[in-house]
């Protein structure tokens, strides 16, 4: 026996009247729209990951470790990312050695030492704006300063950076992430409560003693998070490397130049190899190998990002 339609509609009306304003259809539609917008982004990211993984996994299955230990090659079955991994690692080492100390010490000065004057406001503003400069502009800076100016000596010979080398590339990436390191470190230092410093000054510690023994240790998790994130930014950058002359071609070897020699000769890096392969003709290159290399790059940046997030959550403090 089916209930007459009229009875159902009456029941619904009654229910609505009883519930009052609890159910607000407009609000529900709005909330659904919001959830949809979040899920759309999520969907795109999952689609992206699924695409590169399904296209790239074959390379790992067939080649296994060989993909990581082979050099560039015109023959897809032999092409690998060994040179790219070395290049990215070397670039990362330079960033760690150059950008991190400079960035953290700058932040320490700005937060702990700097007098409160117009000049320092300008310095802070300048750093914030540097963080927003497009990466390709840093590439131009690297080209003009590290490749050209420092890459040639007075006589027209090779200068201290050696021109289009890992050193030039690493310095360019260091300059690129420096403002980010300064900003994140500053935020971490600012989060250390003033009461802690005042307590130490009260018993006679000098500024450096307070900074070194109280402020820095307590700000360290935040600083570390920021530096890890900026490192992951650095290893994912492509545009600056194009401009400072990372290798763009299908084949090179460095022979027996030794590890130091590799710092001053032809080099490439993971994102640059992805760029190169993505523009090759055969689908072995522009789909499979590109996807496999992207899996590695995403793997590296995700590990760094997740490590940073975990680190922050683990040591996050509420003062």
């Amino acid at each position: 026996m089916s209930t007459p339609d009229i009875a159902i509609s009456q029941r619904i009306t009654t229910q609505r009247a009883l519930r009052g304003r609890k159910v607000d259809p407009a609000n529900i539609i709005f909330e659904i729209a919001l959830i949809l917008s979040l899920l759309t982004s999520l969907g795109f990211v999952i689609l992206l990951l699924a695409t590169v993984f399904s296209d790239g996994v074959g390379v790992f299955q067939e080649r296994g470790f060989g993909f990581f230990t082979s050099n560039l090659s015109r023959i897809p079955e032999q092409a690998g990312i060994a040179q790219a991994l070395f290049g990215s690692a070397a670039l990362a080492v330079i960033v760690v050695l150059v950008a991190f100390p400079l960035g953290i010490t700058t932040a320490v000065y700005l937060e702990e030492y700097a007098p409160d004057n117009k000049f320092m406001t300008l310095v802070r503003l300048n750093i914030r704006n540097l963080a927003g400069v497009p990466s390709v502009v840093y590439g131009l800076l690297g080209l003009a300063v590290f490749v050209k100016l420092l890459g040639t000596d007075m006589a027209g010979g090779t200068g201290i950076t050696g021109g289009r080398t890992i050193i030039s590339g690493g310095l360019t990436l260091s300059v690129l992430v420096l403002p980010i390191v300064v900003i994140t470190s500053s935020e971490a230092l600012r989060a250390v409560p003033a009461s802690l410093r005042e307590g130490a000054y009260g018993v006679g510690a000098t500024k450096w003693e307070v900074t070194k023994k109280l402020v820095l240790p307590n700000a360290l998790p935040g600083i570390l998070t920021g530096t890890v994130l900026s490192l992951s930014r650095a290893i994912g950058e492509t545009a600056p490397l194009i401009l400072v002359g990372a290798f763009y071609g299908t084949f090179f070897t460095t022979g027996d130049t030794g590890t130091l020699g590799k710092f001053t000769t032809t080099y490439t890096a993971l994102p640059q190899v992805i760029y190169q392969w993505a523009t090759e003709a055969q689908s072995e290159f522009n789909v499979e190998l590109t996807s496999a290399a992207i899996c590695v790059l995403i793997g590296l940046t995700f590990v760094a990002n997740i490590a940073a997030i975990l680190l922050r959550n683990r040591y996050e403090k509420r003062w």
Binding site: R21, D24, A26, E31, L34, I35, S37, L38, T40, S41, L48, T51, V52, P101, T105, T106, Y109, Y113, V123, N126, I127, R128, N129, L130, V133, P134, S135, V136, V137, L140, L141, L143, A144, V145, L178, A200, V203, G204, A205, T206, K207, W208, E209, K213, L214, N218, S232, G236, E237, A239, L243, P271, Y275, A278, T290, L297, I298, T301, I309, K317
Partner: protein
Amino acid sequence: MGDMTSVIDAPSPSPLGEPAVDLRGNSRRRWRETRVKVVLLFSVGITLAISVAIIASLLGQSIDFINSIPLDNLWNFDQWAPRIGDFDIATLFVGSLLVTAIAMIIATPLGLGAAIYLSEYASPRVRRIFKPFLEVMAGIPSIVLGFFAIAWIGPEIVQKLFSDASAFSLAAAGIGVGLLVTPLVASVSEDALRAVPLSLREASYGLGARKLTTVTRIIFPAAISGVVAAMILGISRAIGETMIVTLAAGAYGEANFTTNPLDVGMTVTSGIATLASGTDQVAGGAGTAASSAYNSLFFLGLLLFIVTFLLNVVGESFVRRIRERY
């Protein structure tokens, strides 16, 4: 409480344990202070030097560039073909404009929607899951999104919607850039929404407003300067994005003037990257045509620097406004 003790325990006790009389008198300690200060100031100096270096390197070669070409060549809606001396920057400006507009059409609803949901609707648990997701999304390298744009967005979205379009187009690049900018828009606007004090919400509910009204009429207007900031910073990021456009927008080395987003095209950034990759432009040619092409890299860089700088300054001022208000 536990926190405090561990913090006080940690540093070595020497300065804290010394008698008060000694405190400022030790010249060795004061000397050390000076040394530290010098080292720190050196670092600050480097960050300033970088700005100077950027401006100096861009400006010098841009001036060379301007002097080396007839000026009516810069704005004639013809084409950008630096190798043969055609330097119509309108071609690249319109390209950048189209890509940025498409990117913001994608990123604004997605980013803003996610931000409102996370700050106003999501339970703390849902928030804890989705917030890191947005952060991870922000960490995807742009070259990866560029590959996604040619492998999927071009053929599966653009060509499905417009069968005449090329898989390589300004539209495909724009959608890719939109995905790149979404997490930035989301996180800046979410910060702004969360900065709106609880008291405003409570007052609204107290007056009997429903949730939808509270969110759209009270909270959103209150956070509007932060949302504007998110948009401006998003636009600045979209204008500066290079690799997605280089891979997906289609034109390379030279581009014809177009206002059609379904066309192949070029932006200011991809103009720089494509001229620099795979040619000896980076090495700097000797001939006149080649060297003005080389210098044009810096001219484009200068334009890019100025535009993004202005946008960032305006964007930051909006961010500060919301910080100061609450």
